[in-house]
Amino acid sequence: MAEKGLKDYKAPKKLDAYRLLEVFTASDGRMSILVVLLGFLAGTIIVLAVGRNPGNMFAALMQAMTGWDLTRGVWNIRYVGEWLALSTPLILTGLSMGFAARAGLFNIGAEGQYIVGLTIAQFGALYLPQIPVLHVVLCVLLAAMGAAIWGGIVGWLKARFNASEVVATIMLNYVAFYLSRWVTMAIPGANTYKTPNLPQSAQLDAGFLQLFTNGSNLNYGFFIALLSVLAYWWIMERTRLGFSLRATGLNRDAAQASGINANRSAVVSMAVAGAFAGLAGAVVALGSFNFGRVLSGLDNYGFSGIAVALVGNSTGMGIGLSGLLFGLLASGQPLMQSRGIPKEITLIISGLVVVFVSLRAGVRMFIAWRRRLSVAAAEALDA
C-alpha cells in the first residue's frame, strides 16, 4: 500500500479521536481497567448527585477489601474473608461464561448449570457415605460432572441440530430450577425451603481459614476457584484442546476447513463451561449453607458470571480479577449502607461497568468497520 506516502502526509484532524480510540481498545486489559475506573467515576458522581459523601463509599469498599475501618480506626480481617468468599462463585460462573465465549458460544445457561451442580452436591451430601474428605470431594466432583452433562447437552444440540445455544440454555435454566425444587422437596424431612442439615463430612468449611479470617465464611471453595482459574488458563492458552476451541471461536469456517471438528468443540466447550458453573453450585451449597436449600428464586450467580467474563475479557487471570471486583462490590454493600450510601449504588456501578464494556464492543465494531474501509481501499478491486 502507500505507506511510504504517509511520512510526508499530514493526517486530517478528525483521525486523532479515532487513533485515541484505537489505542484504548488495542489492549483488552487496559480497556477493562479504564472501564472499571469509569464505572467508579460515574458511581461517585451519582453519590454526589444524591447529596451523599462519596468518601464514605470508598471507605466502605476499602474496609471490604482490607478490613480497615478508616472512620473508626479498627481492623477486622473477617471482611477480607467475606470478600473472597463472595467472589468465589462469581469467579467460577465467570469461568463458565468465558470458556464457552472463547469457543464462540454464548452460555447464558450458567445459572441452570449452577443449579444442577448445587442440587447434586446437596443430594451427595445427604446420601453418600460420610467418609471424611472423600465425601466432600465426591460431592464436588459429581456436581461438576452433572453440570457438565447439563451444559454438554446444549453443545450437542448445537452441533447436531444447529440449535441456538442461547435459547436452549435459557429454557434449560427453567428446567433446572423447577427440577431442583421438585426433587429436593421430595427428600424425606424436607419442607418448602430446606432439607435436613447436611453432615459435616460434606461441608467445605475449613477451620484454619475461619480461624485466620476471624470467623468469616471463607472455605475451601476459594481454593477450588483458584485451581479452576489455573486450569482454565492452562487448557485455553496452553493445550491443543484450547487451540481448537479458540480457533473455532474466532473463525468457525476456517477451523473446520483446517480439520478442527467444530461440533466437538461445541460439545466440549459447553461441557467444560457447565463443569465450572457446577463447581460454583457445589461451593455455595457445601460452603455457605449447612442445610440443603429448596430454591425459591434464582441466586443469579450464573447471570452475574456473564458480566464477570465480559469485564475479564474471558481470560483466566482477567476473570479471576473481575470476579474479585464484583465480589468486592457485593461485600461492600452492607458497609456502604451503614455509612448512609444507598446499597443500590454498587449495583449501578457494576451495571455501568457492563455498559461500558459493551461500549467497548461497539467501539471495536466501529474500528473494524474503519479497517474494512481501508481494506476496501486497498483491495476492493482485484488486481
Partner: protein, 522 residues
C-alpha cells in the same frame, strides 16, 4: 485551458494506516473512454468512490464539465450525471429488469400508481439505442451475469448519466461476454457518453480506451494515449518495473492418477445440485486447471474434495483409496492440501497469530504438540520462523503478528506456505491470486509450478482464464456443475475455452468456428 468532463485535482484520501490517494490527478475528456489502470491497492477504487460520493476526499477539487462541485453522496453524483456500475451488482433478484431500473425514481400515473408500462417502454428504447439487449419484463434471477451487467448499465442511462464509471466490468464475464461488453462501450462512446473504465486488464484497455491514467501506490504515475503505448509499457507503468507475463515452465510429465473424482454430485446451499455427476482425474506431476465463470459449482466441488461438505453421490479417490467419507483432518494426513478460495473466511483465523495460523493444520500432533496435550510453543514458533524465511513472508512482528495485520499478499503466501509445508501428494488451489499484486502473483505461480515439478498433482480452480492458460498442463471447463470438456494445455485457445466455459461443447465450437470460416469464405 481545456474543459474536461471530469477533472479530479490533487485528490487525497487517507484511511487508517494507508494513504489510498495522494494528490491524484484524473482528467477525463468529454466523450472519451478513459481507462484507470492500477494494481490492487493502487487507489483506483478509492478514487472512483470519491467521484461517486461514497467517500469524501480529505482534500482536492472535483470539476465536472468545468464547474467545481461537491459530491457528498451518490445522489449528488447522479445529479451531476455520473453513473456507476459496480463489480458486484446491486439488483433485487425477485424484481423484473424494468422494476430494478426504475427503483428509487418510479414514474407515476395520474392516480399515483407506478407506471410500469411507460418504464418498460423507456427501457426498451434505451436498450435498443445502446445495443444493450435485455427483456425489460425478465426477472433478474433468470438472467445471466452478462445480462445483469447490462441492466446495471441501463440503470445509469435511465438516470440520464452521461459519465459512466465501470468498475472492473469484465471480472465476472466469459471471454465472449467481454467482447459484447467492449461493443457496448464503443456504442456508448459513439452516442456521446464519457466512460471511465477501471481495470487491470491491459488487453481491454488496448481494445476500447482512448487514454489511460495509471495509478501506483496511491499516486498518478502517468496519463497516456493508449494508441501510442504498448501493453508492456502500460504494465511497466502499473508495476513500476518490467514484468514477465509468461510463466516459465517445462512440459509436464504426468505420472499415475493421484486424484480421481467419479460421478460426484454435491448439493449447494440452496439445495440445488451445484455439482452434477462430475468426473475428473489429476495425475502426479501435472497441473489441471478448472476453468469456469464464478458460480458454476467450483466452490462446492472444492469444498467437497477438501472434506468440508459431504457429497450426495459419487466418490473421490486419493492415491487409489476412497476418501469420500473421510474428515478434513484424515484427508490432510493422507496427503491432501487445500488453499481455499476465500482466504479470510476459510484460510485464516484472522484473530490468531501468524505462527498459530501456520500451525492450524498440524498443531495437534508432534512436533507441535506434546504427549500431555500441551502445545509446544517453541516448535510452533520455530516452524513459523522457518516458513517466514522460506516463503519470504513479510510480517511486522514476525511469528507473533496477528494474521489480520498482514497484507493480502502475505496472508495468501502464509496459507500457501502452510499447505505446501504438508508436502502433499495433491494440492488443490482455489483462486490463489485473487486480489494480489503482480509481484505476489508471479511468486505464487512459480511455487505452484515448482510443486508440479516435484511430482505432485495440482488442481487449480480459477476464474481468471489467463491464469489457467498460463499454468495448466490440462484444462477442464466447468459449466453448471459439469465438466463440459477437457483440453491439453497446448491446444487450448482462449476462444475455445471461453466457449466451453459458457457451456458449449468443445467439438460443437470447433464445428461452429469452421462453419463460420466457411461462410465467410463463401
Amino acid at each position: 485551458m481545456e474543459t474536461y468532463a471530469v477533472d479530479m485535482i490533487d485528490i487525497s484520501k487517507a484511511f487508517p494506516g494507508i494513504l489510498a490517494n495522494d494528490k491524484v490527478r484524473l482528467s477525463v475528456r468529454s466523450g472519451e473512454v478513459h481507462a484507470v489502470l492500477g494494481e490492487n491497492g493502487a487507489g483506483k477504487s478509492t478514487l472512483m468512490s470519491v467521484l461517486y460520493g461514497l467517500y469524501e476526499a480529505d482534500s482536492g477539487t472535483i470539476r465536472i464539465r468545468g464547474a467545481d462541485v461537491t459530491i457528498r453522496n451518490p445522489n449528488d453524483a447522479v445529479a451531476q450525471g455520473i453513473g456507476m456500475v459496480f463489480q458486484h451488482f446491486k439488483l433485487v433478484h425477485d424484481y423484473t429488469v424494468a422494476q430494478n431500473i426504475i427503483l428509487g425514481m418510479e414514474p407515476r400515473t395520474r392516480f399515483g400508481h407506478i407506471d410500469l408500462k411507460s418504464a418498460e417502454r423507456r427501457v426498451t428504447e434505451l436498450s435498443s439505442r445502446y445495443g444493450l439487449i435485455v427483456d425489460p419484463k425478465a426477472r433478474i434471477e433468470d438472467l445471466g451475469v452478462g445480462a445483469q451487467q447490462r441492466v446495471e448499465i441501463l440503470k445509469t442511462l435511465y438516470r440520464e448519466a452521461d459519465i459512466l464509471i465501470l468498475d472492473e466490468p469484465s471480472a465476472v464475464l466469459t471471454p465472449q461476454e467481454v467482447d459484447e461488453l467492449m461493443a457496448v462501450i464503443r456504442r456508448l462512446k459513439a452516442e456521446g457518453k464519457t466512460v471511465i473504465l477501471i481495470t487491470h486488464k491491459l488487453r481491454e484497455i488496448k481494445a476500447v480506451a482512448d487514454r489511460c491514467t495509471v495509478l501506483r501506490r496511491g499516486k498518478t504515475v502517468a496519463t497516456v494515449d493508449v494508441a501510442s503505448t504498448g501493453e508492456d509499457e502500460l504494465a511497466a507503468l502499473m508495476v513500476g518495473r518490467a514484468v514477465n507475463f509468461t510463466v516459465d515452465k517445462k512440459p509436464g510429465t504426468p505420472g499415475k492418477p493421484v486424484l480421481e473424482i467419479r460421478g460426484l454430485t454435491v448439493k449447494g446451499s440452496r439445495g440445488h445440485e451445484a455439482v452434477k455427476d462430475l468426473s475428473l482425474s489429476v495425475c502426479a506431476g501435472e497441473i489441471v486447471g478448472l476453468a469456469g465463470v464464478d458460480g458454476n459449482g467450483q466452490s462446492e466441488l472444492v469444498r467437497a474434495l477438501a472434506g468440508i461438505d459431504k457429497p450426495s453421490a459419487g466418490s473421490v479417490f486419493l492415491n487409489g483409496s476412497d476418501i469420500t467419507r473421510t474428515s478434513v483432518r484424515e484427508r490432510t494426513e493422507l496427503g491432501l492440501a487445500h488453499v481455499p478460495e476465500d482466504r479470510h473466511k476459510h484460510g485464516l483465523v484472522l484473530g490468531m497469530r501468524l505462527d498459530e495460523n501456520l500451525a492450524l493444520k498440524t498443531f495437534y500432533k508432534a512436533p507441535l504438540s506434546k504427549k500431555s496435550g500441551a502445545l509446544d510453543f517453541k516448535a510452533i514458533a520455530a516452524k513459523a520462523e522457518r516458513l517466514i524465511k522460506q516463503f519470504d513472508l513479510r510480517a511486522g512482528k514476525g511469528p507473533a503478528s496477528k494474521a489480520e495485520d498482514l497484507s493480502g499478499g502475505n496472508q495468501q503466501k502464509a496459507i500457501i506456505a502452510r499447505e505446501l509445508d504438508l508436502s502433499p501428494d495433491l494440492l488443490i488451489v482455489s483462486q490463489p491470486t485473487r486480489g494480489l499484486d503482480v509481484g505476489a502473483i508471479e511468486y505464487i505461480h512459480r511455487r505452484i509450478v515448482a510443486e508440479r515439478d516435484k511430482g505432485r498433482a495440482v488442481l487449480l480452480v480459477s476464474f481468471e482464464l489467463d491464469e489457467v492458460m498460463a499454468l495448466c498442463d490440462r484444462i477442464a471447463a466447468i459449466s453448471r456443475g459439469a465438466i463440459i470438456g477437457e483440453l491439453q494445455g497446448d491446444e487450448a485457445d482462449e476462444r475455445l475455452v471461453g466457449a466451453m466455459m459458457a457451456g458449449m461443447k468443445g467439438e460443437d465450437y470447433k464445428k461452429a468456428a469452421a462453419a463460420g470460416k466457411e461462410a465467410r469464405r463463401g
